[in-house]
């Protein structure tokens, strides 16, 4: 028995060394710290200041390992210039399973360090933690790999995958509010029906608090059916005893989860969950279901995010103290049935969330920091406090009272209000998704196997480093295992593919792309943007932002579908692009208002500014609007068109958006500077000098169009590019801009010098000049455009 270990010389010798004598023969037994060979080396001795003398020293080399010598990799008389392996030794114990720094095979203490072993510590020989319920037990990479491959083989032969299940708010919802017990004991209570299905247990370490647990509707069927396709694991941030109690409720005979339970005690990190903790080698066959995606920073591809189950309204995840604070947008509007009194409950739900919701990024960052004991203690105390508070505050009771109170206030006769409803259907959709994933996985796997059989080489990903071991007996081939993460991605990507989504009121601060909801939408194939432009197909609006500026902008764009946030959430939950018609946000009033406002502004502006005197400064969205307002009669239409530029100018000034205002004045400046340039707008030359005579507009337009520009939206496209350019230009020190203007006039210094003087992140000074010209170009173009528009309009009138 025994494993052969090749031992290296290490870096501490005074290279080059000459081997003078080998003291052992292959086959000899070697003890630890026994001298195995002798060597000599030359070195410089400093005799006195600045004078050296070469000397030769002789030394012994001690073996760091014990066992039987297999072979020498060096020979007597050899000069070794650099560290290299010198012998292969057959060890009695490879120390590849260790429990708390003790070899689990031979009982030897692994922390022992001496001169000989200092470079290769025994504790490093096993460092993979792959047992669910113990952190002390570690194994070597080789063992981890062989274990996992045999597990994968087993799953493949059973045609299963692994499923990691979160507990809190994914499959169950727990609370410690004793109101539940009271309601449960009182059949006359309106909530009795919902509450009587809860189960309860107590934990001694939380001072005999009674935990009330509500399983998600259909849970037992779900688990039973899913366990046909998946091997189930529990991964929760609750304590061990909590998890075991919950599992005892949802899996009383331990047939579903067995002992595959991992809790925060064993997780290794207090903030993040990691699949590598249970599957250190390959996560190809693992799917996760969890209501929080931010706790899986490293395993997003494998995650199916579940809509959090909130049965006890206003009570979040009782183990959430150990997780980074939930970002607000991740919380869906879990509004109860829409009777008039829904509002206070909804409010309470949001209020119950942690009041501070810092950046998700920050939380993730904090996750990576090493957790210390103190923090853990702190969090545990915090949790205890929270639980205690829940017991004292009894939020459920309050909410119910509030519900009833509101009714009284409205003078209605008291009726039964049901606070808790049991109408969650998430598990049905979830089961479908899991079935789909399972089907897709094995379809792909079977296809690859057929290909392999028919002689075609399977497609390996480049850079695949895994040890592949084809087995010919069981019809199981690990080398053909597809990555379930890819499959999930493929399934998801097609859902919202091709949609461009902007949001209003869903993300507070920061860019939408990086927000939780944005990332999810992107995972489902949608493109997420911040600004409302003609490119977007959907504007997703939160209930509180139905009259926001973005919605107004979107109303002007006919192609945008304005939907409530539940559309997006439902799409993400059901993995289908749902018909929007049920989710449309009513914008009729806004549309009317918009038209009204437009008309008024038009009237106000008509007298003041003469059309020809004002170079066009129009908002393309305004132009687009022309065709949008169906209910407008011809008269209005004409008026509008006539006053187009002025009105839009006014629009900008009245707009609350500071930037826009700035933009307006900005371009005014430019204009005046240009005026001093000779006032010849139309003969202004573009950078490339492409503008000649009548064909002016055409090349400019095509040049500006984004390469990826959409069908007919030249205007808005240009608008976005232009707006961006202007924004960038605006963000520069104004001195530079004037500098650039001077350049335009032909008197300024070389632009290249400017760029070195004023480094600006993102672009260099050379661009500044271009940008400023771009501004003018744009203005000029607007002018041109307007003339076009006018012509077109006159034509239209003629047609009439």
């Amino acid at each position: 028995m025994g494993d052969v270990r090749v031992v290296h010389m290490g870096t501490r010798l005074h290279y080059p060394v000459t081997i003078t004598r080998l003291l052992k023969k292959p086959g000899d037994a070697i003890e630890a710290r026994q001298v195995v060979f002798e060597y000599k080396f030359n070195w410089q001795r400093e005799i006195e200041e600045g004078r050296f003398k070469e000397e030769t020293s002789y030394a012994d080399f001690e073996s760091p390992a014990e066992g039987t010598l297999r072979e020498w990799k060096i020979e007597e008389g050899e000069v070794v210039k650099a560290p290299q392996p010198y012998m292969a030794i057959e060890e009695a114990c490879p120390h590849d399973v260790q429990l708390g720094n003790m070899c689990a095979k031979c009982g030897k203490d692994m922390t022992e360090v001496n001169f000989a072993t200092a470079e290769e510590r025994d504790t490093d020989r096993a460092n993979v933690n792959m047992v669910h319920d113990n952190v002390g037990l570690v194994v070597s990479n080789e063992i981890a790999m062989s274990n996992e491959y045999s597990a994968q083989k087993r799953l493949l032969s059973q045609r299963k995958l692994s499923l990691v299940v979160d507990l809190d708010q994914t499959v169950i919802h727990a609370c410690v509010d004793r109101t539940v017990a009271e309601w449960k004991a009182d059949p006359s209570n309106p909530n009795y029906e919902a509450v009587c299905k809860t189960k309860a247990f107590t934990l001694t370490e939380t001072h005999d608090l009674v935990y009330h647990v509500k399983m998600r509707p259909g849970l037992s069927d779900f688990l039973a059916e899913v366990s046909e396709m998946y091997e189930l694991h529990v991964y929760t941030m609750g304590t061990r005893s909590y998890a075991e109690n919950i599992v005892a409720l949802i899996d009383p005979d331990h047939t579903l989860f067995g002992q595959r339970i991992i809790t925060r005690t064993e997780s290794g990190s207090m903030h993040a969950k990691s699949l590598q903790r249970i599957f250190p080698v390959s996560t190809n066959m693992v799917v996760i279901i969890d209501d929080r995606s931010d706790v899986w920073p490293y395993n997003r591809p494998n995650l199916i995010k579940v809509v959090p189950y909130a049965f006890f309204k206003g009570i979040g995840d009782i183990n959430s103290n150990f997780l980074p604070p939930a970002t607000k947008e991740a919380v869906p509007a879990a509004l109860p049935e829409a009777n008039g009194s829904a509002a206070p409950t909804g409010q309470a739900t949001t209020e119950a969330q942690p009041p501070t919701a810092p950046d998700a990024d920050k939380a993730v960052l904090a996750m990576r920091l090493k957790d210390d004991e103190e923090k853990l203690k702190e969090q545990a105390e915090e949790q205890e406090k929270d639980l205690q508070q829940q017991v004292e505050d009894r939020p459920l009771l309050h909410m119910q009272e509030e519900l009833e109170k509101e009714d009284e206030a409205q003078g209605e006769e008291p009726k039964r209000h049901i606070l808790l409803t049991d109408d969650d259907e998430e598990l049905i959709a979830l089961q479908d998704h899991l079935t789909d994933v399972h089907k897709a996985f094995y379809a792909l796997y079977d296809k690859r196997r057929r290909q392999r059989k028919s002689g075609q080489a399977p497609q390996h990903k480049p850079g695949e480093t895994k040890v592949r071991r084809p087995s010919n007996d069981t019809g199981v081939d690990l080398s053909l295992v597809p990555d379930v993460g890819d499959i999930l991605e493929n399934l998801k990507q097609s859902v919202l593919e091709g949609l461009v989504i902007a949001t209003s009121g869903l993300v507070k601060g920061g860019r939408v792309e990086y927000s939780e909801i944005g990332q999810q939408a992107q995972a489902f194939g949608a493109q997420v943007v911040d600004e409302v432009s003609k490119r977007i197909t959907h504007l997703v609006v939160s209930p509180t932002h139905e009259r926001s500026e973005k919605v107004r902008q979107a109303v002007r764009l006919r192609s945008v579908r304005i939907v409530s946030q539940s559309w997006l959430l439902d799409c993400l939950s059901q993995w289908r692009r749902l018909d929007e018609s049920a989710y449309f946000v009513s914008v009729e009033s806004l549309r009317r208002e918009e038209a009204e406002r437009r008309r008024k502004q038009g009237e106000a502006g008509s007298g003041s500014v003469s059309r020809d005197g004002t170079p066009a400064e129009d908002d393309p969205t305004g132009e687009l609007d022309l065709g949008d307002d169906d209910d407008m009669d011809d008269e209005e239409f004409r008026k509008l068109l006539d006053l187009d530029s002025d009105e839009d100018f006014g629009d900008m000034n009245t707009s609350t958006d500071e930037e826009e205002e700035e933009e307006a004045s900005e371009t005014d400046d430019d204009r005046s500077s240009r005026a001093s340039d000779g006032g010849l707008n139309s003969s202004q030359e573009t950078e490339g000098g492409a503008n000649n005579g009548a064909s002016t507009t055409v090349p400019t337009r095509t040049k500006r169009k984004k390469p990826s520009g959409e069908d007919t939206d030249g205007e808005s496209d240009r608008e976005s590019v232009m707006a961006k350019k202007q924004r960038i230009a605006r963000s520069r020190p104004s001195g530079l801009r004037s500098e650039a203007v001077i350049v335009e006039n032909g008197t300024g210094p070389d632009a290249g010098d400017d760029s070195t003087m004023l480094p600006t992140p993102g672009t260099n000074g050379g661009d500044v000049v271009n940008l400023d010209r771009g501004d003018e170009e744009i203005d000029f173009d607007e002018d041109e455009l307007e003339r076009d528009m006018e012509a077109a309009f006159e034509e239209a009138e003629d047609d009439d």
Binding site: V97, L99, G100, N101, M102, C103, A104, K105, C106, G107, K108, D109, M130, V131, H132, D133, N134, G136, L137, V139, I143, N147, A151, R154, Q158, H254, T255, G258, Q259
Partner: protein
């Protein structure tokens, strides 16, 4: 192995407990603090009696009184090579954990006889030879300790059942015969 051992400990008492029953309180404190604790090398199972409670000395600064108490206690120290009985608490592909009184013990799958294999398909998952032996949580096992390790307040051990007369115990009456007690 169990030992009867004479030991000494300093117990402090808060001034509010200074009364004629102070010595009883000291003993109460001692029992509460010491019994069931692990000193690193051994577990203190039970205090038999106390034989010497010193005069209390007031600690400067705090006003607490400190008593030096001599006591005799039953301690249990697991030794390398000792055979003990335990109850399996969890099993995994690498082996199984058993609880031997207060001591947590791990038996690696390498130290389980070759005919007893890990069977992940069984519910619950278990080590079994597909005949009469199956090791699942709750099974009683007789294990030989191969090594112990201790840290402050905690000890653990690794063991083997790969020898004659070791392994799963068939008869429940065999289990808590106090095999450890009988030794010596």
């Amino acid at each position: 192995m169990f030992f009867l051992r004479n030991m000494e400990r300093r117990v402090t008492l808060h001034p509010s407990f200074f009364c004629k029953d102070a010595h009883d309180l000291v003993i109460d404190n001692l029992l509460r603090d010491v019994e069931g604790s692990c000193s690193g090398n051994y577990y203190i199972i039970s205090i038999m009696d106390t034989f010497d409670i010193s005069e209390g000395r007031i600690l400067p600064g705090t006003g607490m009184a400190e008593f030096t108490v001599g006591y005799r206690a039953v301690v249990w120290r697991p030794f390398k090579g000792e055979t003990v009985d335990g109850i399996v608490v969890s099993v995994n592909p690498q082996g199984f954990f058993a609880q031997v009184g207060p001591l947590k013990l791990f038996v690696s799958s390498h130290l389980i006889p070759d005919d007893i294999r890990w069977d992940p398909n069984a519910t619950p998952a278990q080590f079994t030879n597909n005949e009469d032996i199956n090791i699942t949580p709750g099974s009683s096992v007789r294990v030989k300790i191969l090594g112990t390790r201790s840290e402050v307040g905690e000890m653990w051990a690794i063991g083997s059942i790969k020898e004659d007369y070791l392994g799963a115990l068939q008869d429940a009456s065999e289990t808590f015969g106090g095999a450890a007690l009988d030794e010596d």
